[in-house]
């Protein structure tokens, strides 16, 4: 049950900084789960804030925040994407790029509320499906997504590239 003081709303400019702080926590959490997952660079949060700022004016993107008494405790970023439309008879689909809820507020339905609002926005744009990536080591996230009915379709794998150079 979502705390009645939590409101999900579209992000505005003043939310960009707290969203970037949540993003930093997300990156740290991922790296703690799996050292393969990248760490943030110095100033990474500022770069991310600029990205979010850009998305606020993008009609094909949606940034939502969970606001608890004026404090941003979670956010989700979704975008409309095309999947090689010439080759697939699939209408554009949605991509959930990032989602994070402050760990102190988890388990109360805030994440679900964010996803439902984003899903509604996708549906309003005539998008039938949306996709996202989950860190393989993030079991809590899997439980969350499975509870919503998410279905894994692909595995993203990562490998180091040999440093040695070969023939030119």
């Amino acid at each position: 049950m979502v705390d009645s003081a939590v409101v999900v709303r579209p992000a505005v400019a003043r939310d960009v900084k707290p969203i970037a702080e949540l993003w930093e926590a997300l990156v740290d959490m991922h790296h703690a789960l799996d050292a393969q997952l990248p760490q943030a660079v110095e100033g990474g949060a500022a770069q991310y804030a600029r990205r979010i700022e850009d998305q606020l004016g993008n009609p094909m993107a949606r940034v939502l925040v969970a606001d608890h008494d004026g404090r941003v405790i979670g956010y989700v970023l979704g975008v409309v994407v095309d999947l090689l439309p010439d080759m697939f008879a699939q209408e554009p689909s949605g991509f959930l790029a990032d989602i994070y809820v402050d760990e102190r507020y988890r388990g109360g339905g805030v994440g679900r509320e964010l996803v439902e609002h984003l899903s509604q926005w996708f549906a309003d744009h005539h998008i039938r499906y949306f996709e996202w990536h989950v860190a393989s080591q993030n079991r809590d996230a899997f439980d969350f997504w499975e509870s919503l009915g998410g279905r894994p379709v692909m595995v993203r794998m990562r490998a180091s590239v040999p440093i040695s150079r070969i023939r030119p």
Binding site: Q47, R51, F142, M154, S160, V161, I163, I166
Partner: protein, 160 residues
């Protein structure tokens, strides 16, 4: 027995057919339907890549005298704020499903990784169908590790 070289426009129609048969298997698990004339669109999309310079490449594996497989790779910017400023992406790699080409896929992948390495890329990503344990096993044997799962959900799941 086989060689690997950059693809040319003359290869595209045969590679498109290889792609099409592979894609039909890959996308059987997703709500995407291959469009009519999809191979022709694939060939057109990859024709643009042939002249795209240093950021992407298409290599063809020639077995005997005919194309029997390919790998398509590109370099993209890392996610904003992350340490990897660029990432290599193996977009597609496929072999003709009607033949047996031992060692061919490994050679294609090695070629693609070396191409990336020559451009200073240190990490590469590939996406593999969840349903294809054989393909996953291949990539693990090539040194890849799972790092993300790709999930899908109907937009209608919530209270619309």
């Amino acid at each position: 027995m086989f060689s690997i070289r950059p693809a040319s426009s003359d290869d595209l129609s045969q590679l498109a057919q290889i792609w099409y048969e592979h894609a039909a298997i890959v996308f059987a698990q997703r709500p995407a339907i291959l469009a009519q004339r999809a191979p022709e669109h694939w060939a057109a999309a990859h024709a643009a890549r042939l002249d795209a310079g240093e950021t992407c490449a298409l290599f063809v594996l020639v077995w005997g005298t005919r194309p029997a497989g390919y790998v398509s790779v590109h370099v993209e910017a890392g996610r904003p704020g992350h340490r990897d400023t660029q990432i290599g992406v193996i977009d597609e790699a496929a072999l003709d499903v009607h033949g047996y080409y031992p060692g061919a896929m490994r050679a294609l992948v090695q070629h693609a990784r070396q191409w990336l390495s020559n451009r200073g890329v240190t990490q590469t990503i590939v996406r593999v169908p969840r349903s294809s344990t054989v393909e996953q096993a291949f990539w693990r044997s090539a040194g890849a590790k799972d790092f993300e799962q790709w999930l899908i959900l109907p937009s209608s799941f919530g209270p619309q």
